[in-house]
Amino acid sequence: MADKQPKWKDIPIGGVITEAGNAFQYNTGDWRSERPFVDMEKCIHCLQCWVFCPDASVLVENEKMSGFDYVHCKGCGICAHVCPVNAIEMVPEGEADKVAADQWGIKEKKTASESGKEKPAK
């Protein structure tokens, strides 16, 4: 990755940014320690998550919640917190790829484990 980035002589001095909108190129997704997953069967498309997301990382198509922009989502979990129907689950990054691969393997895991919104801690 480092090889592809510009060398010290090739960037403007003083950290000045000369092109607008280049925060979009910045992969803040790799800061994430937990990844949000949405259960579309539960989602009511109220777009509370879209309103509250501080990084504009909730994707919306035709006025419906359609997923997350994982390149920019920092995994803060606000979406999961504000979701009125608990359709969003935060999964540790170490397990996230497996969860994603299993599609909704997350559901089984949740019912099997002690945590989760449906089962409050004792």
């Binding site: 960037i11 001095i13 003083g14 940014i17 000369t18």
Partner: protein, 393 residues
Amino acid sequence: MKTLEMKTLALTGNESGAEAMRQIDPEVVAAYPITPQTELMHKFAEFAADGKVATEMILVESEHSAMSACVGASAAGSRVMTATSSAGLALMWEIVYVAASNRLPIVMPVVNRALSAPINIHCDHADSMGCRDSGWIQLYSEDGQEVYDNIIQAVRIAENDGILLPVMVTFDGFIISHTMARVDVLPDKAVRKFIGERTPLHPLLDVNKPVTYGPLDLQDYYFEHKKQQAEAMRSAGAVIKAVGKEYGELSGREYGFFDEYLTSDADFIILALGSTAGTAKAAADELRSAGEKVGVLKLRVFRPFPAEELAAALAGARAIAVLDRSEGFSGIGGPVFQEVRSALYRRYQIPVSGYVYGLGGRDINVEMIASIYGDLKAGRYHEDKAAHFGVRE
């Protein structure tokens, strides 16, 4: 080359600095008063109030704000100056680094004064030496004439396209700032012509080319920006020299990294900064008339540190004493002592003896300096740990 006709004035060091600032006529000056800088800004504010300069004076509530305003105005594209001392510089600290890191060519006279505590208004170099790592170029001045000359040159050095670093011009509080001496002043027009107009690289006010200053800069870019800054500092030496030469052609007073006084055949050299260099020259004169081969090297440019040139200039000496007007609290010696030793490393095997002196304005006189030459001649060196010279034992 024919030099210009100059006016000779009787000015204090502070007035000399204010006179240079009047002729520079910076677009923005933001400042807060602090002893012993007060008189400089008082005088300049008078020029501004009387319409002698077109400067926008911004009177702020602290030095932190003063430097912040300077950073904003300089990023906007203006030619910007301020001045401070001691605790004022300490309060600016965070923004002093921001100015250098944003590559803003701000020029700031620093009237050297001891840092608290205990509170002390008199001269030592703890303030400017404390920010030797901040990325500012530092020029030390021996007298009012050098204050004037250095401030004018600082504008050209700072604004050089290949450098774009802020410059601190220091002079000793009270010893220089409040004593009146002869200063030869260039015609206003000659100064204006010498400094020219600032052509900012990324002016914030250019709405056709909008830019962002001060964005987040993490593991993947920060180091590259520090490399740029370090290289700019390394390149600054050549620019300082070229500007010093050009200024010499204009004024008859050429400037380099340091001044060598009777050093060419000297066995023993004292290296000092600021007004003490003048005292050391008087001591050298006395000892020379008694047949002693002694000399003085007055360091003008501390940042960037001219290691190679300095080592070459010291090469012929049998021993060197370095006088630091700040402690540094390294446990070893003052900042100048350490840099000089480092400059000589693997170049020349010459004993370097460290002296920390004059803290809080403690006086140093000709006899005291003569005694340092005596120590060198007798082989009494303070090599591992600098001596505290002039303290009551």
